[in-house]
C-alpha cells in the first residue's frame, strides 16, 4: 500500500517535471562519463607503469676508450673496475634492492644495437668496442633507483648510471595531465549536477506544496514525505549514470580495444573489458548516492515542523 503510494508519487513527480528530469539525466550522464574516463586513464597509467617499470632497468655503463664523461679518461674499464662494480652490487647494502643483474659485454651490446637499428647503415662507424659494457640491474622496487645511482656513480671506470625509467616519465606526465583535466571537468560537472538535482527537487516539491502541507498537517512522517522526492532524484540520476556506464563500456570496446589496440604497437598493454566493468558500478553507485544526498538536502527545508 505505502510502497505503491510512494512509487505513484515518484511517477507523477517525474511526469510533471519532465524537462528538468531530462536535464538531470543529461548532466549526470556527462559528468559521470568524465569521472569514468578519468578513472580509466588512471587505471591505464597504472597498468602501463606496471608493465614498463618491470622492464625498465638501471644501466651501469662502464667506460670505453673513447669516453671522457663520468669517471672515464679515454681508457677502457679494467677487469678490476668491473669486478669492483660487481662486488658493490652484490654487497649487503645494495643486494636487498636488487632483483637481478646481467652483464652486457661489447659483443652483446653490438648485437642488440644491430637488432634495434637493423634498417640503418652503421658498419664501420660503430664497432663493438665503441659500445659500452654495462650492468643491467632489475630492481625490486623501481622507485629506488637513486640508491644505486648514488653508490655506483663514484666508482672508477663507471661512465654513468642511468635509470631507464626517466625515458618513460614524459609519457606518464602527459597521461596524468589528461586524467587530471578529466577529473577537473568531472568535478565542475558534478557540482552542476548536484545543484540541478536540488533545483529539480525543489521545483517538484513546490508544485506539490498543497499535498505537502496536508501531509504535514495530518502527521505524515518525515521519511514518508521525503522518500518520493529522494527517489525521484535518484531515479533521474540513475538513468544518467547507467548511460555513463554504457558510454564507458563503449569507449573501451570501440576506442581502446577497437582503435588504439590496432594502431599502437602490439606489446602496448591496454585496458580491457574487466576494467570497464569495474568502473561501471562505481559510476552507478556514486551517481545514485550523490542524487540521494542532494535531493535529501533540498527537500529537508520542506520538512521543518
Amino acid at each position: 500500500m505505502r510502497l505503491g503510494l510512494i512509487l505513484g508519487e515518484v511517477g507523477s513527480g517525474l511526469r510533471r517535471n519532465l524537462s528538468m528530469v531530462v536535464s538531470v539525466v543529461l548532466v549526470t550522464f556527462i559528468s559521470l562519463t568524465f569521472v569514468g574516463a578519468s578513472i580509466l586513464l588512471q587505471m591505464q597509467i597504472g597498468q602501463m607503469k606496471g608493465y614498463w617499470y618491470d622492464r625498465a632497468q638501471v644501466a651501469v655503463y662502464m667506460c670505453t676508450e673513447i669516453d671522457t664523461t663520468g669517471n672515464c679518461t679515454l681508457a677502457e674499464a679494467t677487469e678490476d673496475q668491473i669486478a669492483a662494480v660487481k662486488q658493490q652490487l652484490d654487497s649487503p647494502t645494495l643486494a636487498p634492492y636488487i632483483n637481478e643483474v646481467e652483464f652486457e659485454t661489447h659483443e652483446q651490446a653490438y648485437e642488440n644495437f644491430k637488432e634495434q637499428f637493423a634498417d640503418t647503415t652503421f658498419e664501420g662507424i660503430i664497432t663493438p668496442e665503441s659500445l659500452n659494457e654495462s650492468f643491467r640491474v632489475n630492481l625490486v622496487d623501481p622507485e629506488q633507483s637513486d640508491v644505486l645511482i648514488e653508490s655506483l656513480s663514484g666508482l672508477a671506470g663507471v661512465e654513468s648510471v642511468e635509470d631507464q625509467r626517466a625515458y618513460l616519465e614524459p609519457i606518464f606526465a602527459i597521461l596524468n595531465a589528461a586524467s587530471y583535466t578529466a577529473i577537473g571537468v568531472a568535478g565542475l560537472m558534478l557540482v552542476a549536477a548536484v545543484l540541478l538535482i536540488a533545483t529539480t527537487i525543489r521545483l517538484s516539491a513546490f508544485s506539490r506544496r498543497r499535498e505537502l502541507g496536508i501531509m504535514r498537517l495530518v502527521g505524515a512522517s518525515n521519511r514518508f514525505i521525503q522518500t518520493p522526492f529522494i527517489l525521484e532524484g535518484v531515479f533521474a540520476s540513475l538513468i544518467g549514470s547507467i548511460l555513463a556506464g554504457g558510454a564507458i563500456v563503449a569507449i573501451v570496446q570501440f576506442f581502446v580495444r577497437g582503435y588504439l589496440a590496432t594502431t599502437l604497437p602490439v606489446n602496448t598493454s591496454l585496458l580491457g573489458m574487466e576494467e570497464a566493468l569495474l568502473v561501471v558500478p562505481i559510476l552507478i553507485v556514486s551517481g545514485a548516492a550523490l542524487a540521494a544526498v542532494s535531493a535529501g538536502v533540498a527537500i529537508s527545508r520542506y520538512l521543518k515542523v
Binding site: 500500500m1 503510494l5 495530518v218 502527521g219 512522517s221 518525515n222
Partner: protein, 271 residues
C-alpha cells in the same frame, strides 16, 4: 487536554507579541470558541497547539505531551491526534472526495482495508455518502467544508481545531457545519474553533475565549460573541488585570469579569 502556562509568542521583527502571557486550560470534551479581531492572536494560538510554531516563553501541554520539548521527529505522530479544518478547505483539487479523505490515512500508513471502511463512515457522518467520486470543484462550498471535516475526523482525533470553518459560507450552510461540529463534539472530541461569526457563538452558548492583542480578556462558559454584561464605561483594563480566569474551574463563574467591547478594548490597550 490543552494547557498553556504563561505562554508568549513574539514573531521576529515585531515588538508587539502575538500572544502575551496566556494561561489557559481546555478539558476533554469541551467545545470552545476562540473569538477576537484579526491579529488578536487566534491563529498563533492554533499554530502553537499544532506545534507549527514554538512559544517564545511559557510551556504548552497538549494531550499529555509537553510541546516545548517534543522532538521534531515526533511531531508528525503527535499531529495524528489532531484534526484541523480551515476557512479555505484546503482540499486537493485533483483527487476525488474519497481520495481526499483517504489521503490522510494513506500518508500515515493505514492499511487499505482500514481505509475502505473508515472513509465511507466519515463521509456518511458528514452527510456526503453519495458523493465520494466527485471532485472538489464539483461541490458547493459547504460540501467542500464537509469533505475537509471528514478528512479531519476520519482518524478519530482527540482534538479538532477549526480556523474560521464557516468564514466562507452562507448562514444556513454555516449552521449545518456547526451542527456537524456539535455532533463531533458529542462523540467525545474536544473542539476548538476560532471564529468571527457572532450569530453562531451567541446561538451555541458554549465556552468563549476572547483574545485582544494577544491576551485573554474573557473566558466564560456559555458566553456570547460579546460579553453579556454591560461594559463599564471608560474602564481601561490594565494588562495585569486582564489576566484571564484561566483554568476552566475558575471560569465557571459566569458571566465573567465585565469588559469593554473589543474595539474600545483595543484602544484602551494602545493608550
Amino acid at each position: 487536554m490543552i494547557r498553556f502556562d504563561s505562554v508568549s509568542k513574539s514573531y521576529p521583527g515585531t515588538t508587539r507579541p502575538a500572544l502575551n502571557s496566556v494561561d489557559l486550560e481546555i478539558l476533554k470534551g469541551e467545545f470552545v470558541f476562540l473569538v477576537g479581531a484579526s491579529g488578536s492572536g487566534k491563529s498563533s494560538f492554533l499554530r502553537l497547539i499544532l506545534k507549527e510554531e514554538n512559544p517564545t516563553k511559557g510551556s504548552i501541554h497538549v494531550l499529555g505531551q509537553h510541546l516545548n520539548t517534543l522532538s521534531s521527529r515526533k511531531v508528525p505522530y503527535f499531529r495524528r491526534n489532531l484534526g484541523v479544518v480551515f476557512q479555505d478547505f484546503r482540499l486537493l483539487p485533483n483527487k476525488t472526495v474519497f481520495d481526499n479523505v483517504a489521503f490522510t490515512l494513506q500518508v500515515i500508513g493505514k492499511s487499505r482495508g482500514f481505509i475502505q471502511e473508515a472513509v465511507p463512515d466519515a463521509l456518511k457522518m458528514v452527510g456526503l455518502a453519495g458523493k465520494s467520486n466527485r471532485f472538489p470543484h464539483e461541490l458547493s462550498g459547504g460540501e467542500q467544508q464537509r469533505v475537509a471535516i471528514a478528512r479531519a475526523v476520519v482518524n478519530k482525533p482527540a482534538i479538532m481545531l477549526a480556523d474560521e470553518p464557516t468564514g466562507n459560507l452562507d448562514p444556513a450552510t454555516a449552521a449545518g457545519i456547526m451542527t456537524l461540529l456539535e455532533r463531533i463534539n458529542l462523540g467525545g472530541t474536544t473542539v476548538l474553533m476560532a471564529t468571527h461569526d457572532a450569530g453562531i457563538v451567541d446561538q451555541m452558548k458554549r465556552r468563549v475565549i476572547e483574545l485582544i492583542g494577544g491576551q485573554i480578556v474573557r473566558d466564560e462558559l456559555q458566553g456570547g460573541y460579546q460579553t453579556q454584561t454591560v461594559p463599564t464605561q471608560g474602564r481601561i483594563p490594565h494588562p495585569a488585570a486582564s489576566k484571564p480566569a484561566s483554568a476552566a474551574s475558575t471560569a465557571t463563574q459566569s458571566p465573567a469579569r465585565p469588559m469593554a467591547s473589543p474595539s474600545s478594548q483595543g484602544e484602551g490597550l494602545d493608550a
